[in-house]
Assembly symmetry: C2
Homo-oligomer: 555 residues x 2
Amino acid sequence: MTHPLFEKHQATLEGAVAAIASRAYWSAYPEMPSPKAYGENAAEEGKKAFEAHLGKAFELGQPGQSGWLGGEKSPYGIALDVQYPVCDPEALIAAGQAAMKGWQALGADGRTGICLEILDRLNKQSFELAHAVMMTTGQGWMMAFQAGAPHAQDRGLEAVAYAWREQRFVPADTVWEKPQGKNPPLVMKKHFEIVGRGIGLVIGCGTFPTWNTYPGLFAALATGNPVIVKPHSNAILPAAITVRTIRAVLAENGIDPNLVSLCVTDKRATTKGLATHPAVKSIDFTGGNVFGQWLIDNCRQAQVYAELAGVNNIVIDSTNAYKAMLGNLAFTLSLYSGQMCTTSQAIFVPAGGIETEDGPKSYDEVCADLAKAVERFLSKPEVAHAVLGAIQSADTLERINLANSGELGKVVLASSKLDNPDFPGAEVRTPVLIACDVADEKLYMEERFGPISFIVKVADTAAAIALSERVVSTHGALTTGIYSTKQDVIDAMTEATWRSKVALSINLTGGVFVNQSAAYSDYHGTGGNPAANASYADSAFVANRFRVVQRRYHV
Amino acid sequence: MTHPLFEKHQATLEGAVAAIASRAYWSAYPEMPSPKAYGENAAEEGKKAFEAHLGKAFELGQPGQSGWLGGEKSPYGIALDVQYPVCDPEALIAAGQAAMKGWQALGADGRTGICLEILDRLNKQSFELAHAVMMTTGQGWMMAFQAGAPHAQDRGLEAVAYAWREQRFVPADTVWEKPQGKNPPLVMKKHFEIVGRGIGLVIGCGTFPTWNTYPGLFAALATGNPVIVKPHSNAILPAAITVRTIRAVLAENGIDPNLVSLCVTDKRATTKGLATHPAVKSIDFTGGNVFGQWLIDNCRQAQVYAELAGVNNIVIDSTNAYKAMLGNLAFTLSLYSGQMCTTSQAIFVPAGGIETEDGPKSYDEVCADLAKAVERFLSKPEVAHAVLGAIQSADTLERINLANSGELGKVVLASSKLDNPDFPGAEVRTPVLIACDVADEKLYMEERFGPISFIVKVADTAAAIALSERVVSTHGALTTGIYSTKQDVIDAMTEATWRSKVALSINLTGGVFVNQSAAYSDYHGTGGNPAANASYADSAFVANRFRVVQRRYHV
């Protein structure tokens, strides 16, 4: 007998499983914040729900609470003043472990049904979540809505679909009957129990507090594990709303809500203690290399799924759509002020220039034309603010200043500060473009998170492809791109990406951008280069989060 | 268009995929060494083929050869004197990497077809392989045939089936068409290339040189990786025969045979250098904790799949088939002189004795009766030699002597040396049984590989179950067992194994033994306790051995 919530959401699950199999376009959650999709009053109610959190204590009813902690600073400059419960990690772990037995007993179908109900409920909160994401991360509204709500929910559902596909492949039981020639067969009954590994810790980042949290959260949860969400200290609210909804759905369905909890702390030592706790068996992390590598090196008791820094890059060899190419790149470099782990940082251009449908363009012309394209794209303030959002961290502001100073190479386009009339306190910056020589590896060959890109002068296309491969292999990347009119060049770049194991976008000139990754179709990260040791999502992302414990006896 | 070898073996593949889905009984390779299954002359030809290797140099035609190395000592005391090529590991790595491109280009179907052809060819060599396994490991003939040939081939096929299931789920390409309201849809063509991670290193053990090698070997190979097999220094021949056959099948099918090579060395430093080489991306290891943990700690560039030591244990609470229980245990303790990673080492018996269909039996009676059952089972020399085989290593002989001395506890049954008339040089030993108290943890709570078992006096059944859980959680185990007539006791033990993550055999009294694990049905290891971080076989065993590299463009 299956679970009522499994039956309720079975069509959604089947859609997701079919989508990950075909990798064609599909989505369970409408990406347009329209009344048609979300209801006439959804926008207003969502905004009110968000505003109702401000200046308040965010109750979660978790065990071991010793106080309250807040301190999120909105990149838009508005006051947030939300206080979150501070709970003893040992209490959260013990409570999570205690809740695990009932969660295991539910079986894969029941867990999947409840996860789907949670996602459905989160989807209904999309406006509330979008405001929370926007105001904590500095994303523009449309991006905060899409990436923060439906796209994040799609990534969560994708993980649930992979988890369900692996779990359902394990039969609950079997009769094993081995022929013995003329003697009676050996007959055994065998049972196969799916058990989670133990506490899953999900450590969020400051820029995508839902999109980068939901895959690990739902992968761990669906496979039978308790989950502790440790949000970034400046993007707690989206995680807190998520955890509250999860706890509510669990409780409604007779599951101990302490299966999922929020761990808020301003002490790195607390996070480290939690991450190295023997009960923590998986860690999903998105963030910088230093702490990510610390987790990989020190949390040997856990499976660590880490998305770290990288140096995304694009090779420009030639194009027959020069203007469209520049427009496409301008959007990529501007979106959320380049504060995406998928934004291109290094653009490799041959020293001898490139061929276009308008004739040859020198390296300097490409630099100047890309600068102009970015300026043109951001010339209307309303477009600029919608696309750029605000700068999420002081570190990024510093990096922009450094790049503007000329210390990182010749400034082809300086970053400028814009005033957002709706949010006078917002730190808004346009992208900075720097021209540099291929020899200046120290400039462009480390991640400089934010709207900072390098147009690197490379000997020729072959050298650019070889450089791209080396950068990806040694420093990692989530995305690469190539622009070329020549199939042999595209083939050479393709083979380079097979060796360096990175996704490739070819000749993007339309409404798809190298920094965008669509759930169910685009693998986010390959898990095969230093930028990430896992992918959203594939079988490897879920298959080792549970184990199968068998028992057998004669019948 | 699919590969001819994929079509040739498709029925076998489908059988294996159906078997891992149902986990019912299935086998591709006949386990009886009968003329009916293998041909009238197979036994004789296989023996001749084995004998033809003796005293010779085993040519493989590998690159970088600098000399020859042998030195295997047969536990049966016969002269082997086979010399194997010693090759520069850098040359093997470079040649493997060079061969990878053509292997990748073949795609999952082609690779699967060739792997199935290899297994079919190995199956035809089953007698040759069985003699090689018997004479290098000391296994008895029937076990060497079954575990060394068809059962090992089944485990290899099982890995291929899992690998194929995961790879075929990744579509080669898709058209992604995203609606844009009234505007034309966004349409992209996407390709998804399966690429292996890189060199797979498979480090074999001295007791099961094929059974424990084939899962990792075929999992890595099927998923697109070159493989270097590093056999145990005393069990090279079975691996060498395997590698030669693989290389022949590869060459016949237009694949560079250097995709798979044999690395023979008597220097631990060479193995360590190979294991930590940046090009080595996966390591499959079976063996002791010290080197296994060294690999896990030091080979951070690779995925390490390790089967290490453990303390397998059985709880006896009660039985309604006392004699059959003792007979079943006697077989388990005797088979291959307990030199199996699945042999029970600790048997937990309540201090107050157990209930049986013949009335209560005291702890001392259980000890005495089990000793008698082992003696009775081994009373006929021809049975004893067939079951016991010979002791594989001097270390195991030393451990037996230590146990016999009484230093590890009261000797309930002493190990005795038997003379094998067919092999006067064989070191044959019967099992030693020791009685000890639960408090003497240092005696029974570390692996003492070989025919050494402890009957541990425990307060009561509940304490025994709790102890079993603690032993498995802290020291690991591949197998546990329980004998009880009470469902609540079986349930308590079952729940304990869910927490400690170990396979459980319940009331085995017939022709299935706790130390036996059947491909396609029994998971060998859960991957969830210290005895093994992976399982033969499940999705997690294969899914992270390849990555998917995508490319996309507008259409």
